[in-house]
């Protein structure tokens, strides 16, 4: 059973549909007790970082998510949910995150030649993700697999070992997936990335700690 955290932000509908399609039992929850006792947690998120963190904190769920993560419960953050795993974000001022993985959410590099051929920000669309070959969760993702991204910032983990997949935006390698043990973050939307995305979601469902 996966508990999908409902804190008033996030595209719960689409994530629910994708889990249903995979045949994975899940439940939406806004209950700190349930989160603490869960065996697998999914933290969705869309919109602004500060707003999303406020939504989680106001409901008293931030500490519950932290406690579960520290107890080695598999946790997947998606999009802003992935960003929230980090220490802080620079979106619209400085905001504190869940601080489960050291790092800062920073703006993507702007096109250096504004006119042609480069990626506009927000980065919207399908990008080829390059996964770290020796990562037990994502290592076997086929080369040139594409996932759907829509974001202006990315979770820049301090420790390179925590960056398990990247995309290249305007000449720079940007974290697409981060992982520290049981804590996994996808900057892309697996629920919107076709069969590749469903596979990436399935990898979390099967992730062992």
């Amino acid at each position: 059973m996966i508990h999908v955290i409902d804190y008033g932000r996030g595209n719960l509908f689409s994530i629910g549909q994708a889990l249903r399609h995979l045949g994975v039992p899940f439940k939406l929850t806004s209950d700190a007790g349930q989160i603490r006792e869960s065996s697998r947690l999914l933290l969705p998120g869309v919109g602004a970082f500060g707003d999303a963190m406020a939504g989680l904190t106001e409901r008293g769920l931030a500490d519950a998510v932290r406690d579960a993560a520290h107890r080695d419960i598999p946790l997947l953050g998606i999009c802003v949910g992935a960003q929230m795993l980090l220490s802080r974000s620079e979106e619209f001022g400085l905001h504190k995150g869940l601080d489960l993985i050291n790092g800062t959410v920073r703006r993507l590099p702007e096109p250096y030649d504004g006119a042609t051929g480069q990626t506009r920000i927000p980065n919207v669309g399908w990008r080829a993700i390059e996964s770290k070959q020796d990562d037990p969760v994502l290592g076997t993702v086929p080369a040139n697999s594409m996932a759907y991204f829509v974001h202006s910032l990315a979770p820049m983990a301090d420790d390179q070992n925590h960056i398990v997949a990247t995309i290249t935006i305007n000449g720079e390698k940007i974290p697409a997936a981060i992982r520290k043990g049981n804590i996994l973050g996808y900057q892309f939307h697996p629920e919107k990335s076709g069969p590749t995305g469903l596979d990436l979601l399935q990898r979390f469902v099967e992730m062992k700690v």
């Binding site: 595209n11 509908f13 689409s14 549909q17 994708a18 249903r20 399609h21 869309v46 919109g47 602004a48 504004g114 006119a115 042609t116 051929g117 480069q118 990626t119 506009r120 920000i121 927000p122 980065n123 919207v124 669309g125 399908w126 990008r127 080829a128 594409m146 759907y148 829509v150 974001h151 202006s152 935006i169 939307h189 629920e191 919107k192 990335s193 076709g194 069969p195 995305g197 469903l198």
Partner: protein, 252 residues
């Protein structure tokens, strides 16, 4: 270089997908569920649903269509037509939409773009602009599927919308729409040069080479196609194959 998106556009009227010429002269081309699933299975990158009668609520509303689609289709879905309030956006997102396209409501009250992007993030808000050429290099923004004039200059309007927080521009060439005469490259290029957010071009694609030309000239970031897929002129893989042959980066 990042892949360009190929987006299927479904114009919805009640339970049907329709297609017109110059946004008029409507013909039924199929059922939204069947068409959308076919395009998804063929590898479409995104789907845009446009409600031609802005019937957001009630039986056979576009939201039912989207809700049904969201069960089996795992690519981004955009809904436009009749989105007037923040509550409309909440309802659309709950039905499985990832983004909303706003036209008339933004023209009537530009602050709506600020409110919408603040509440849901810029990534969720697509400004839809229907452009009608008035003079060389000059376009007027129309609303209500090209039925109403506004007197607003397209280039000034999109710059303002970007400032207010729009995340993408969906630019429809009313002059080319439904004609299969090729993309309006002058219009698309002018729009893309004016803003720094992604630009989706709409209207006029009758064959894959039309898209190749638009992408090669850096006129757009993404393109929408309707008739070419609805009438099976070519399939999504056939369309993408031509783009790949001409070194246009796409998702395969």
């Amino acid at each position: 270089m990042s892949p360009h998106r190929i987006i299927a556009r479904l114009d919805i009227k009640g339970p049907n997908v329709i297609k017109g010429i110059h946004l008029e002269g409507l013909r039924i081309v199929g059922k939204p569920g069947e068409l959308a699933l076919r395009y998804y299975e063929q590898g479409i990158d995104e789907i845009i649903y446009m409600d031609t009668v802005a019937s957001l609520y009630g039986r056979n509303s576009i939201l039912n269509v989207v809700e049904e689609a969201a069960r089996d289709i795992f690519v981004p879905l955009t809904v436009g037509g009749g989105i007037r309030t923040v509550d409309d956006i909440v309802t659309a997102l709950r039905s499985g939409a990832d983004k909303v396209a706003i036209n008339t409501a933004a023209v009537t009250r530009p602050e709506f773009i600020d409110e919408a992007s603040r509440s849901f993030g810029s990534q969720c808000i697509v400004l839809s602009v229907e452009a009608k050429r008035r003079a060389p290099g000059k376009w007027e923004a129309l609303t209500d599927n090209g039925r109403e004039t506004t007197g607003i200059d397209v280039m000034e309007w999109i710059a303002e919308a970007e400032q207010r927080g729009a995340g993408e521009i969906l630019i429809t060439s009313v002059d080319q729409e439904g004609t299969k005469k090729g993309a309006d490259i002058d219009l698309f290029s002018a729009v893309r040069q004016r803003v720094s957010i992604p630009v989706i071009g709409c209207g006029g694609i009758g064959k894959p080479m039309d898209a190749v030309n638009a992408f090669k000239r850096n006129a757009i970031d993404a393109i929408t196609c309707a008739s070419i897929f609805h009438y099976n002129t070519c399939t999504v893989p056939q369309f993408k194959a031509v783009l790949a042959e001409h070194d246009v980066p796409i998702r395969q």
